[in-house]
Point group: C2
Chain length 306, copies 2
């Protein structure tokens, strides 16, 4: 079976504290603590694994938090090729009660030039066994801003197509390596190109190097601007839930379609369905497979004119 390598340079341990209620400015007893390996690339890998795909996770992990997140990956049965660093991996804390949630994101570790070079060498070895590569999420301090361009070029040279899902400078610099698929959301699209109009923005990203662009537009589904045509895919109904997971669902389905070489319309239906199935699961990187199967039958796909 084909292997998909996902890269998470800023991997995290996602911790959830559940309480009935929180007395801010006071002392509280946490009812349950849940830990989960996190970061966009890891969430994508978990979704791919749920779909029966072979995955390998790389990126950087360090300290006690790095060890804890690797232990969680192992529990999830995901092959871990994370590269150790001296710094302490970050933790994201969600404090959740019945009617509210507060998120506290720790700062990530700072990566040394030596650690980055070591990661690069390791990555090129891993890519040799990979059929596609997902480069997902933000870059920690110390990793060069053109990291996704450097990794993308190496993957391209070694024959592995790249899906890129990031924002800001990491995105604009990453386009230099001509990733096969780039998946921005609306905000990332506008901020990277300066164009408010989606098709103008996707065209700009393609001019800058992206072969194909799939924009995730929340309720309005996906807009795909590809070498084979342009489509809009819209889910049958709106689902409320974990919006963070929506983009990871799109990326997981798109990379699966890429290794299968399935036609673009099929990929977009799959991506819309998996995104919806991820939104309604509170845990990042999880999907309701019943919703996924049902939505696959009900997504509306239409061509759009550029």
């Amino acid at each position: 079976m084909q292997v998909i390598l996902t890269v998470t340079m800023n991997a995290a341990l996602d911790v959830t504290y559940e309480l009935d209620s929180v007395n801010w400015k006071s002392v509280n007893r946490v009812r349950t603590v849940r830990n989960c390996a996190g970061g966009k690339g890891i969430n994508v890998a978990r979704l791919l694994k749920a779909l029966g795909r072979r995955v390998m996770v790389s990126g950087l992990a360090g300290g006690a938090t790095g060890a804890a997140l690797r232990a969680e990956l192992s529990k999830d049965g995901i092959a871990d090729a994370l590269v150790p660093i001296a710094g302490e991996s970050r933790r994201t804390l969600a404090i959740v009660t019945t009617d509210e949630a507060t998120l506290l994101n720790e700062p990530g570790p700072t990566v040394s030039a030596r650690e980055w070079r070591h990661f690069y060498d390791h990555f090129t070895t891993l890519v040799e066994d990979a059929d596609a590569v997902v480069l997902s999420g933000s870059l920690p301090p110390g990793v060069p801003l053109d990291a996704y361009a450097v990794l993308g070029k190496a993957a391209r040279r070694l024959g592995a197509p790249v899906v890129l899902d990031t924002s800001g400078r990491a995105l604009t610099e990453g386009l230099i390596a001509h990733p096969v698929v780039v998946k921005p959301n609306k905000e990332e699209l506008v901020s990277a190109t300066g164009f408010e109009e989606t098709l103008a923005a996707t065209a700009a990203l393609r001019r800058s190097g992206a072969e194909n662009v799939v924009a995730s537009l929340g309720d309005q589904g996906l807009l795909a601007d590809t070498t084979e045509g342009c489509w809009r895919a819209v889910p049958p109904r709106r689902l409320v839930g974990n919006a963070t997971g929506a983009g990871d669902g799109v990326v997981a389905a798109l990379v699966a379609g890429l290794v299968d070489e399935s036609p673009w319309p099929r990929r977009l239906v799959e991506a819309t369905a998996l995104s919806a199935a991820s939104v309604i699961e509170p845990k990042a990187g999880s999907a309701d497979l019943d919703v996924y199967r049902q939505f696959r039958e009900e997504v509306t796909l239409e061509s759009c004119s550029r």
Copy 2:
């Protein structure tokens, strides 16, 4: 030099998140994360070490959090004789801004009967090298409620005097082993004996097995009801700060006085001074040694009549 063994059955990793402000129900970026080994016995050990004493820390620690707290102990140069357990040690999280603090305490691990027996065996070996033992803090689920009685009897049999600082059933059961010093605060005293009046309550604890009782009464200093007499020790002025650390300062000074066999009035002056010096340090188990030295000269000691 004499060795003091402190026991923390419910050791913790104390984590502090510092932020400028917190938007509850929203996403926040944590500015700095500080980790510190915690739990009352560990705080007492850190204070003793700061006073130049030889200490050894035991108790239970497990999982990634247990590993992280052991790493912090090692950084602090404290000899770690914690016994590994399968469960995950608890974390206490303080979310601190310039003008407020919210505390979130994780539930502790559940200890198996086998782990408790293993700890007991380990404890009896450690006590052979100890000149005094501090039993401090709450008991995690699974550890028998009479644990401090069982450990206290073993210590007594092996010739090591015991200082006990706990509350509720762990305290009342622990008295059975005749600890040499028991240090309740006002609330623990009332709740363990039913007496609102401090001297009536300390007398009741002594009838139940405590050889000497030192009650920490916040602003009003200490009241000691001992085999050699009864005293009140009052600090020269009120200090505002970390009240949690105040009791650990008292315990550290009392056990140091116990191994030195210094006269009770001297022990009480030391305990009042170290308690004050701990209150003004935000980090538990730390003391301002200048305040300590200054307060030692200024504590007021008076005999009281029973």
